[in-house]
Amino acid sequence: MNAPVTPPRPVALGQSHVSAGNALELRGITKMFGALAAISDVTLSVRPGERRAVLGSNGAGKTTLFNCITGDFLPTTGLIRFFGEDVTTFPPHERIRRGLRRTYQISSLFAGLSVIDNVYLACRGVSRNRFSLIRPRRDDALVHAAETLVEAVHLTAEKDRLVGELAYGQQRQLEIALALSGAPRFILFDEPAAGLSPTERRDLVSILTTLPTHIGYIIIEHDMDVALRVVESVTMMHNGRIFKEGRPEEIEDDPEVQELYLGGGHE
């Protein structure tokens, strides 16, 4: 069971274990579902502004890792720090308010609301007056912010349509807009490119590469072409464990990775 032991962190990443400087730091995270360890003993640190890919075959525990980071699940054991603060037991909304964002592998939107209302909700969620009973005016700053975001993901033409009526690719774009609301400091993208057309993929890559440099992210992506183009470091997961970390080009050439990951991906 404990075959691939976590290797010593590659020196190439220049990462020390000083916690204060990290955007995200996981120590010994394990999540059990009954007797199944979806992730076991995951230790990981990401610098502010760092962009990292998490790769692994189906069921490797990548989404579960995200769920632990955002607080959707409480980890069975382990410690999570977000910009130096111990958030292990925080409810999800407290982590979001501290600048964490995420997208969902399976779009999780408000199908009965319009595009602009979805984005407006996202902007409202990370600002004050969430309980306001006063309707926003047309010149409300948050309305503007929401419109800007809608434009950023090329959905301006659809902004008054109900989300349930959107095409699949457009819904994926909207997922990303929700994750960019407010002032994100760190974003978790869960397979944002899955099911997108080549054009939409190009748009996605350009959104990711033009994000302000202080915003770091982790991206789960099966498409190596997308993943390796937008990150500077890669973490490989298998059976709930991290078994390799390195720069994209190191990972790409690694025979073990080729066998395990590409083998697993084609099953």
């Binding site: 408000f110 009965g112 609301l113 409202r124 006063i134 929700l178």
Partner: protein
């Protein structure tokens, strides 16, 4: 809970018209009818039928707000109304001088609203500890506990007999229990409640509540405290229920455990479901139907040779029919009928407003 509502899109509504131009003609007609009703209707209609409709509608509205926008079907709203009504009797004046404190109205009424809101908030906080269908069970249990408590407790709630001679204050020299003043009082409060729910449904809080209804996990991942929003909804809904409860105690001039019993709690649910729980207008329509049935059932039943007591049977069967065949209530039927007409009359161009 499958209660997805085509929520109003509120950000940047395209229309530039003035607010009164946006109100469709049927609404104006309805307003005119309601305002001038006292010219034609007798006091029985004004006081009993319409007064009771508005009251029941407001209490049903508070349920509609929780269920339609928040996805929480609460059987507690009659109890909240009852708490406010009881507070008016206990803090103000009543025939039971040993219990009633006899405070002035401008202390009594705000205090009644506050205490009812507190009660609703605490109960709501308990009810939101679980989700979905549990809400009905927990709120029903709390409602029952309060009912039995008022019945057995004499020091505060004067037990079985409750309070009588609870009268509205003689404000501006008007006797508000006279049919016409009471009609206008309840009409204005009902209209205000209705307007408030419509307005709030498109405010950040209302929109967030609908988000919580549809996808609580996503709302948490957007930075919303889902539990707090749910509890706050209970607090806000208590305002409409309390207004109804205070009117109710004034209309009957009395309040007793029977007012807030289980069948009353169920009646509120019936009213909201029959009218339609997705839109604020639903409960008022449901209430109107309910009151009409109640008022005229003796005649109808007598015509078929039944005793007038079989009213509940009609209500029960009608409720079953609605739940089985038109889960969205009368308004749902109306929507479907309109959709069909629009389809048919598509080319004819005859659009209904």
């Amino acid at each position: 809970m499958a209660m997805t509502d085509q929520a109003p899109r509120f950000v940047n509504r395209a229309d530039q018209k003035l607010w009164f131009e946006r109100i469709p003609a049927p609404w104006w007609a309805l307003a005119v009818v309601l305002v001038f009703l006292p010219v034609v209707a007798n006091s029985f209609w004004l006081f009993q039928v319409m007064g009771w409709t508005f009251i029941l509608g407001m209490i049903g509205l508070s349920l509609m707000f929780l269920a339609g926008y928040g996805g929480m079907v609460s059987l507690l709203q009659m109890t909240v109304a009852g708490v406010a009504g009881y507070m008016v009797a206990i803090l103000g004046t009543s025939g039971t001088v040993t219990v009633s404190l006899g405070l002035v109205w401008w202390i009594v009424i705000p205090a009644a609203f506050l205490i009812a809101a507190l009660f609703a908030t605490i109960s709501g906080a308990l009810a939101v500890r679980t989700e979905g269908i549990y809400t009905i069970m927990i709120t029903l249990a709390i409602a029952a506990a309060f009912f039995y408590f008022t019945r057995q407790n004499y020091t505060i709630f004067n037990g079985y007999s409750g309070f009588n001679l609870v009268l509205p204050p003689q404000l501006f020299g008007v006797n508000w229990r006279e049919p016409v003043p009471f009609y206008y009082l309840s009409l204005v409060l009902a209209a205000l409640s209705y307007g408030a729910v419509v307005y709030v449904s498109r405010s950040p809080f209302g929109l967030a509540l609908q988000g919580v209804r549809d996808n609580p996990r996503r709302m948490a991942a957007l930075g919303f405290n889902v539990t707090a929003h749910r509890v706050a909804a209970y607090a806000l809904a208590s305002v409409f229920a309390s207004a109804g409860g205070i009117l109710l105690v004034w209309q009957n001039a009395q309040i007793a455990p029977g007012t807030i019993g289980m069948s009353a709690a169920i009646d509120v649910l019936v009213v909201a479901v029959v009218g339609g729980m997705r839109r604020p207008l639903g409960p008022f329509i449901g209430a109107f139907i309910y009151v009409l049935l109640q008022v005229f059932s003796p005649d109808i039943l007598g015509f078929f040779g039944f005793s007038a007591e079989r009213f509940k049977l009609i209500i029960g069967l009608g409720f079953l029919a609605v739940v089985l065949f038109s889960p969205d209530g009368v308004l749902g039927l109306w929507d479907r009928w309109r959709a069909r007409r629009r389809q048919q009359g598509g080319q004819a161009g005859g659009g209904v407003a």
